[in-house]
């Protein structure tokens, strides 16, 4: 029996590696995900039926509870994952990550009591519990921020020092709880749990919404680490492989995302985004005037252009306008206009998010052009149509060193002959900063809800 379980665990560990590797390539990605899911199923079933130690007691009640819990979790997980709109995916990933962290935390909370006095085991238990808990409460805050239930960054006075003090407290308390486990009452582990929850919240609340993907990716690797500590505790290979794999891959992915935004990780975690002096300095600059364009004029302009580049942003996704934009693109192509989409690496709420959203409405993969490839094409572009994007086209990223987004690579839309910006209002973008592009002489604003405005535009072009 033990031999069979070890084989199940070997299959689990290997499929995690193969699955993750295959997910790095667009062609094999989906199969890779399924392979990982298959290995996970084997590891779970193997554990339920074959894992037995001298402490194990098996009775009907336990099987009912285990399968009941798996049933409940699967039903909720499956339904939410299937039903969620594609725009809401990032926050859902954050939520699921938090659940994994909470699972690791509960394991630590139950195991603490039985392992008192045993320093090696207790170190794994407490480390897994604390990291899992931080990942849990941090992910919930990230979820709230992404779903717009908590849109302003909350900054307590001296929040960086405060956070570091609380972190220090967590570390000291953890060490103390491990070393003094025989003298301390059992409930201290729950106190530590509460302090870790508080740290997770304090860690995440000051970070602005635009940086949330990086935070989620970081918390993702935290949960991996928590799972790995569980693997040490039980000497369980799939937990170790899966946990360490996600821990190291997640860290690398976090750094890659920071690189795509051209911001060091320390800047994301400790830096102030969209506040303080930067935003204030932006306010005082000469703005100039804003022109707007009527739908009929825009229809004519687009219809007689040679080349149009669409810059989609999160606003397009929120308005559910990805289908209309595809209709517009097809219509213009029929009229002999060359249409392309310019995809900024962090368009949407996560790298690659915009590609997923547009693919959903059947936009051809080849039409989605990445930033480095489209930037040289803007000077030959007649019209750039910016729909619901803001920060990724803000020239302040290149020209204004005091701007919070300074240094972020942007789409050089200002090189195009005409710039049309569709927005609902003159409000600032997600990062909360003003955009000088709106006051450019080549720019015309096309106000209105993306879906409604674009639908009108399509019918207007059809009449030409």
């Amino acid at each position: 029996m033990k031999g069979l379980l070890e084989i199940c665990y070997l299959i689990g560990s290997v499929t995690f590696i193969i699955g993750l590797k295959m997910m790095g390539n667009a062609k094999t990605a989906r199969k890779g995900n399924l392979i990982g899911a298959f290995g996970m199923t084997i590891a779970i079933l193997g554990t339920i039926f074959l894992f037995r130690t001298e402490d194990t007691t098996v009775n009907t009640l336990k099987f009912v509870l285990i399968f009941g819990a798996i049933g409940i979790g699967s039903a909720i997980g499956w339904l939410t994952a299937k039903k969620v709109e594609m725009t809401k995916m990032p926050e859902l990933v954050s939520m699921f990550n938090g659940m994994g962290g909470a699972c690791a935390a509960l394991i630590g909370l139950t195991e603490y009591e039985h392992n008192r006095g045993n320093i090696a085991e207790l170190s794994f238990i407490v480390a897994g519990m604390v990291i899992g808990t931080i990942s849990f409460s941090g992910s919930i805050i990230a979820y709230l921020k992404l779903s717009g239930k908590m849109d302003k960054p909350v900054r307590l006075p001296n929040y960086n020092s405060l956070n570091n003090i609380v972190l220090l407290l967590v570390v000291i308390a953890s060490v103390y709880v491990v070393l003094q486990s025989l003298v301390l009452p059992v409930f201290v582990i729950w106190l530590l749990f509460v302090v870790a929850i508080i740290y997770g919240i304090l860690f995440t609340v000051p970070i602005g919404g635009a940086d949330m993907p990086v935070v989620i990716s970081l918390l993702n690797s935290f949960t991996g680490l928590a799972a790995a500590f569980g693997g040490f505790l039980y000497d369980n290979k799939p937990m170790l492989t899966g946990g360490i794999l996600v821990g190291s891959a997640g860290t690398l992915l976090t750094l890659a995302m920071c690189k795509a935004m051209n911001r060091p990780l320390s800047n994301v975690i400790f830096g102030a985004f969209g506040g303080g002096s930067g935003a204030a300095a932006g306010e005082s600059t000469e703005k100039g005037t804003v022109k707007d364009i009527q739908v009929s004029d825009l229809a004519v302009l687009l219809n007689y252009s040679k080349k149009v580049v669409i810059v989609p942003g999160y606003g397009l996704a929120v308005a559910q306008a990805q289908h209309v934009i595809h209709e517009l693109e097809k219509l213009l192509e029929e009229r002999g206009v060359e249409v392309k989409y310019a995809i900024h690496p962090v368009a949407g709420r996560m790298p690659g998010h915009m590609n997923v959203l547009l693919a959903e409405s059947n936009v051809e993969y080849e039409k989605l052009v990445e930033m480095e490839d489209i930037n040289p094409e803007f000077p030959q572009t007649d019209v750039v149509l910016v729909v619901g994007a803001n920060d990724v086209v803000n020239p302040a990223a290149k020209t204004d060193p005091s701007s919070p987004i300074y240094g972020m690579p942007i789409l050089d839309v200002e090189n195009a002959k005409n710039i049309i910006i569709n927005k609902r209002s003159m409000n600032a973008g997600y990062a909360g900063i003003d955009n000088l592009l709106f006051y450019n002489t080549k720019t015309s604003m096309f106000f209105g809800d993306a879906k409604k405005a674009l639908t009108e535009l399509v019918s207007e072009i059809k009449q030409l």
């Binding site: 990605a29 997980g77 994994g100 394991i107 799972a227 890659a256």
Partner: protein
């Protein structure tokens, strides 16, 4: 000298960890930005393997320890949510990339 003893006793584990870290880095290297979101989501599902620990907690808890069983039960639910939700949502994202 204790540190050397620790190393000798856990030598294989230490090798295992170091190699696993390199595998993780190697596996992610050179992935296009477009795939970052699905990849993060897929990795998110894989750390759901923590559910194996929750099941072990359930199996090893004394059946008379009701509080322990409740915590284990909750842990299994949360772990399942992470695993099932994670894989399903990743599959939905990747489905989009498939059709050309």
């Amino acid at each position: 000298m204790e540190i050397f003893d620790f190393f000798v006793q856990n030598r294989e584990m230490i090798y295992f960890i170091i190699l696993a870290i390199f595998v993780g880095i190697e596996v992610i290297g050179g992935v296009p930005t477009v795939l970052h979101t699905p990849l993060m989501s897929g990795a998110n599902a894989i750390h759901g393997v923590v559910i194996v620990g929750a099941i072990i907690v359930m199996l090893d808890t004394d059946p008379a320890n009701i509080f322990g069983l409740i915590l284990g039960f909750l842990a299994v639910i949360l772990g399942t949510l992470n695993v099932v939700g994670g894989f399903v949502v990743t599959d939905r994202m990747l489905e989009m990339f498939k059709k050309k």
